[in-house]
């Protein structure tokens, strides 16, 4: 039994308590989206508005991306934008890890954030539903307590599927290790760890060099440089991204594929020790680029080579600010 309604009710309750008790000025959660298969970020600052909050398998966004906006004071801030500083945030396991990452990198202060942890059993990848339904759009979505989805198409047909079938790749490989440091725990059981971690990365590593290059090239060729991957990522908090620097100009403006590749290599590299595999980038990409295949390589290397998993502890030093005696075995060119 995993009752979405019960969880939603608890989220609402917590939000109301936090706001009415003046513990926070704002709660960031999810509300019903404008399309059947969408939920979306929702910003609640009054007890009445807390009623809008929902919880379901469509609550995909990693909301921690918004946190730095509320706790940072940039030079561009207008007076009236010095916003409520204390924020309650609805967070899934991976989102909690992102928050820890933000605290670690001093982008937010922990005491200003109230983490409302929801037990997550994975979110749905919209694209998988769309592929399954072959162009029949969904008009209505319902999910019952045994994790069966009831989808009604625009044509009025009702179809049932197991949720498992549409789980996002990130959820299928979810590590579930997560920090203990949360403020409110919504009751319910999160799903179990899946065993096939890094399977796709290993498969890809085993391919020939040419096959890997061709695949990388094919994926990157789809990119339209809209920066959605970067903007959706809580780790991409830099005030000025290398991609936009004009002096020196790291990334050429033209869509010469080498420029786009450079951007992506830079982005992937900067995820080292940061990426929590929430897949915010993957979901945000309007072109359906398989970004996960590449960022996950970074996660795997950092874990295997340096024994580091991002977002578990705000105190642990980031892996690239440290070194070990056994680093880079076989890396050094000798005569």
């Amino acid at each position: 039994m995993y009752s979405m309604e019960k969880i939603a009710a608890e989220i609402k309750e917590s939000a109301r308590d936090l706001i009415s008790g003046k513990r926070v000025d704002l709660v960031i959660g999810y509300e019903k989206g404008s399309l059947a298969l969408r939920s979306r970020p929702c910003f609640v600052s009054s007890v009445e508005d807390a009623g809008k909050l929902v919880w379901n398998s469509l609550c995909t966004n990693n909301l921690s991306v918004y946190l730095p906006r509320y706790v940072q004071k940039g030079p561009q801030k207008r007076k009236e934008d010095v916003k409520p500083v204390r924020v309650g945030i609805v967070a899934k396991g991976c989102d909690v890890r992102s928050i820890v990452g933000l605290v670690k990198e001093k982008q937010i202060s922990r005491e200003n954030v109230v983490i409302i942890r929801v037990p997550c059993r994975g979110v749905i990848d919209r694209a998988k539903v769309e592929t399954q339904l072959k162009g029949n759009e969904v008009n209505e979505y319902k999910e019952d307590s045994s994790e069966i989805l009831h989808l009604t198409t625009v044509a009025g047909e009702e179809k049932t599927f197991s949720k498992e079938q549409f789980l996002a790749d990130a959820c299928l490989e979810c590590e579930l290790a997560e920090p203990e440091d949360v403020d409110i725990r919504i009751s319910g059981t999160a799903k179990q760890t899946f065993p096939n971690r890094y399977e796709r990365v290993r498969e890809f590593e085993a391919k020939s060099r040419e096959e890997r290059w061709q695949h990388f090239k094919k994926e990157i060729s789809k990119c339209i440089r809209c920066n959605a991957c970067r903007q959706a990522c809580p780790n991409c908090f830099c005030k000025s991204c290398f991609a936009e620097q004009g002096k020196p100009r790291w990334v050429g403006a033209g869509t010469d594929l080498s420029n786009t590749m450079f951007y992506h290599i830079g982005r992937i590299f900067h995820q080292a020790g940061r990426c929590v595999e929430c897949d915010a980038c993957v979901r945000a990409c309007p072109m359906g680029i398989d970004l996960r295949l590449f960022t996950q390589k970074m996660v795997k290397d950092v874990a295997e080579a340096f024994g580091y998993i991002a977002g578990l502890s705000a105190e642990e030093k980031p892996p690239l600010c440290e070194f070990g005696d056994a680093d880079g075995q076989g890396l050094i060119t000798t005569l």
Binding site: F204, E205, R209, E210, E211, R212, W213, Q214, H215, F216, K217, F242, W250, G252, D256, L257, S258, N259, M261, F262, I265, G266, I268, F269, A272, F294, K297, M298, D301, V302, A305, F306, P319, L320, C321, E322, F323, G324, D327, G328, L331, I332, T333, T334, L335
Partner: protein, 147 residues
């Protein structure tokens, strides 16, 4: 022709050697003054410390037509900033693996320690990388298209 697969033709390979301003640049100078022959097609770029070398420097060199990149750092324990070389090592391990993962030949990106007294070793290492890169032929991946 695909822009990212254009190479620099059948010219001699171009190798960028990034040296720190301590041990490795001293060894580079020694190599020169000690008349240790090393290939002329190496462009030496000096940075304060191997720890200053961002992964992006390497990728940028490849994009701008380098057939190989060789980064030198001081031997462990010799870094003038204590641990710049060791911090760099982690970074290099990751970027090298990533580049290999996406299909770039690993020999194109190399990393080595050197001390300030090893002029001939500097020349020999450069020679080795140039040879490695020669075997691979001109770099075709990640290279920016010509005008």
């Amino acid at each position: 022709m695909d822009s990212t697969e254009k190479g620099s033709g059948d010219k001699e390979p171009r190798v960028v050697a990034i040296v720190c301003s301590w041990c490795s640049s001293i060894s580079a100078e020694l190599a020169g003054s000690g008349r240790n022959q090393y290939p002329a097609n190496v462009r030496v770029v000096r940075v304060p410390c191997a720890g200053r070398v961002d992964a992006l420097y390497i990728v940028k060199a490849l994009q701008n037509g380098a057939d190989g990149v060789l980064v030198f750092g001081c031997n462990p324990g010799d870094c003038h900033y204590l641990s710049g070389n060791l911090l760099a090592r982690r970074r290099f391990a990751l970027i090298k693996n990533l580049l290999e993962y996406i299909g770039v030949e690993p020999e194109r990106v190399q990393f080595s320690w050197i001390s300030g007294s090893e002029g001939s070793r500097f020349a020999a290492l450069v020679e080795k990388v140039v040879e490695d890169v020669k075997k691979l032929g001109p770099a075709k991946k990640l290279v920016k298209a010509d005008v």
